[in-house]
């Protein structure tokens, strides 16, 4: 249904902006199509694949299951805004070092979920990593390299070898 768009004030990666959004427009649609923040991907648009995972008020959420108009008083972080944080830097390096992707479509969602895990549990074992990433589907890697990369990032953070 084409309902009227209205101006919505969103706080994304620390800065406020006004963007037009219809009632049924999801946060994912607005981030990608209005704000050109394209790290979050539209995969299934049903909340299943995890490629659109972003952080809202310090919790990971599916951007495709969040209505933009319902996010007005929230603090939203996308991968673009988290990139300078130590866990995310360590994760990026470890993903690259381990070849923890092929097509890369799932990678932004994987990084967001892994970053949330490392903030909560700095020393996760393989089981905890698999559980934390179970909502992020990858159709290339078979997951093993992703789990290895998250473990390597955790170890690097412990050794404090990650500097921005």
């Amino acid at each position: 249904m084409m309902s009227a768009k209205r101006q919505v004030t969103l706080t994304v990666n620390g800065s406020q902006s006004q963007v037009p959004a219809a009632l049924h427009d999801t946060l994912l649609t607005v981030l990608r199509d209005q704000m050109q923040l394209t790290a979050a991907k539209r995969g299934c648009n049903q909340g299943v694949c995890g490629a659109c995972t972003v952080v809202v008020d310090d919790r990971t959420v599916r951007a495709c299951l969040s209505l933009a108009q319902n996010c007005e008083h929230a603090s939203i972080s996308t991968l673009e805004g988290l990139i300078e944080q130590a866990p995310m830097l360590a994760l990026q390096r470890a993903f690259a070092h381990n070849g923890a992707f092929q097509c890369g479509f799932c990678t932004p969602g994987m990084l967001i979920s892994a970053n949330a895990l490392l903030q909560q549990n700095p020393s996760p074992d393989a089981g905890a990593i698999r559980a934390a990433l179970s909502g992020n589907l990858c159709r290339c890697t078979g997951y093993t390299k992703i789990v290895t990369a998250v473990q390597e990032a955790a170890a690097a953070l412990h050794a404090k070898v990650v500097t921005p």
Binding site: H24, G47, L65, S66, L67, N70, A116
Partner: protein, 282 residues
């Protein structure tokens, strides 16, 4: 007719909005509703968000010891609830097995049970533990036992214009415990079949089967049997009683026949797992 997104601050305001326009839809966490919007299954011109209603958020112990989970309590909060739950420990375990971390951050117990997908984890746990559902209507509040709340495929005791306000769990009795056993193809999928088994405050056993028909399967004769006898033979007999009541689907998660075969096997695991909790703190 309402247009757009509404943010009532109280249950009464929400009920009044929904009464104004029967086409408006209430929205809790959005995990199911927005997926249906994206798929074009529903196209409501107005949504009534329940996110600003403080009285339906969080978990509290009532003066009589029962535990009230507000309808707008996320699965994560229920999964992480640290105080004793007695038989309703099965509800906490069910919450911890819903989908994945991110969906548990979004979905709410009220939204989930109002949607009443038969593959959900909550319904068998709520039925087995003897939980109740508090419902607000335009005229009054009413309470329905979980066993009567689930009516048919995606159909509940909710009348048009009513809202789930809370789930009320029984007072955790001495020795009461509950477990939830889920069989799914991969972690986070809907259950192919599931069983909740509870030892209630009076020492009796209560079980319910999920994902094997339109509503959770409970059977008084099976409960009576298991309360007196937890031998392999008694579990087989109780499993057969439950299986006879099943009306499972053939779908991508498993054939109807496969689901029928799962029932006695999951029941055995659930009862043995419940026995292993004996002597543990509720």
């Amino acid at each position: 007719m309402l247009q757009g997104l509404y943010h009532p601050n109280t249950v009464d305001e929400a009920i009044a909005l929904l009464a104004q326009d029967p086409q408006a839809r209430p929205m809790a966490g959005g995990a199911s509703l927005v997926a249906m919007l994206n798929a074009g299954v529903i196209e409501p011109a107005a949504l009534v968000s329940l996110a600003s209603i403080e009285e339906i958020k969080g978990i509290s112990v009532m003066p009589d010891g029962r535990i009230r989970i507000g309808a707008f309590t996320r699965h994560r909060e229920t999964a992480e609830y640290a105080l004793p739950l007695g038989a309703a420990a099965a509800v906490r375990q069910a919450a911890s097995l819903i989908a994945n971390v991110t969906v548990r951050n979004m979905g709410t117990i009220g939204g989930a049970i109002a949607f009443a997908d038969p593959g959900l984890d909550y319904p068998p746990a709520l039925v087995a533990s003897g939980a109740e559902v508090e419902i607000a209507s335009p005229f009054a509040r009413r309470v329905v036992p979980a066993r009567e709340f689930f009516v048919d495929w995606y159909l509940t005791a909710l009348e048009p214009g009513e809202l789930v306000v809370a789930v009320v769990l029984p007072r955790p009795g001495e020795g009461a415990q509950g477990v939830y056993i889920k069989h799914a193809r991969v972690a986070g999928d809907y259950a192919t079949a599931s069983v909740a088994a509870c030892r209630l405050g009076d020492g009796s056993v209560s079980v319910a089967v999920g994902a094997c028909g339109p509503i959770p399967i409970a059977n008084d004769a099976a409960n009576t049997l298991l309360s007196a006898d937890r031998s392999g033979a008694a579990i087989t007999e109780a499993g057969a009683l439950l299986e006879r009541q099943a009306d499972p689907l053939d779908d991508v998660r498993g054939s109807a026949e496969y689901r029928r075969q799962l029932i006695p096997r999951l029941l055995l695991r659930a009862i043995r797992s419940l026995e292993a909790t004996e002597g543990e703190k509720p």
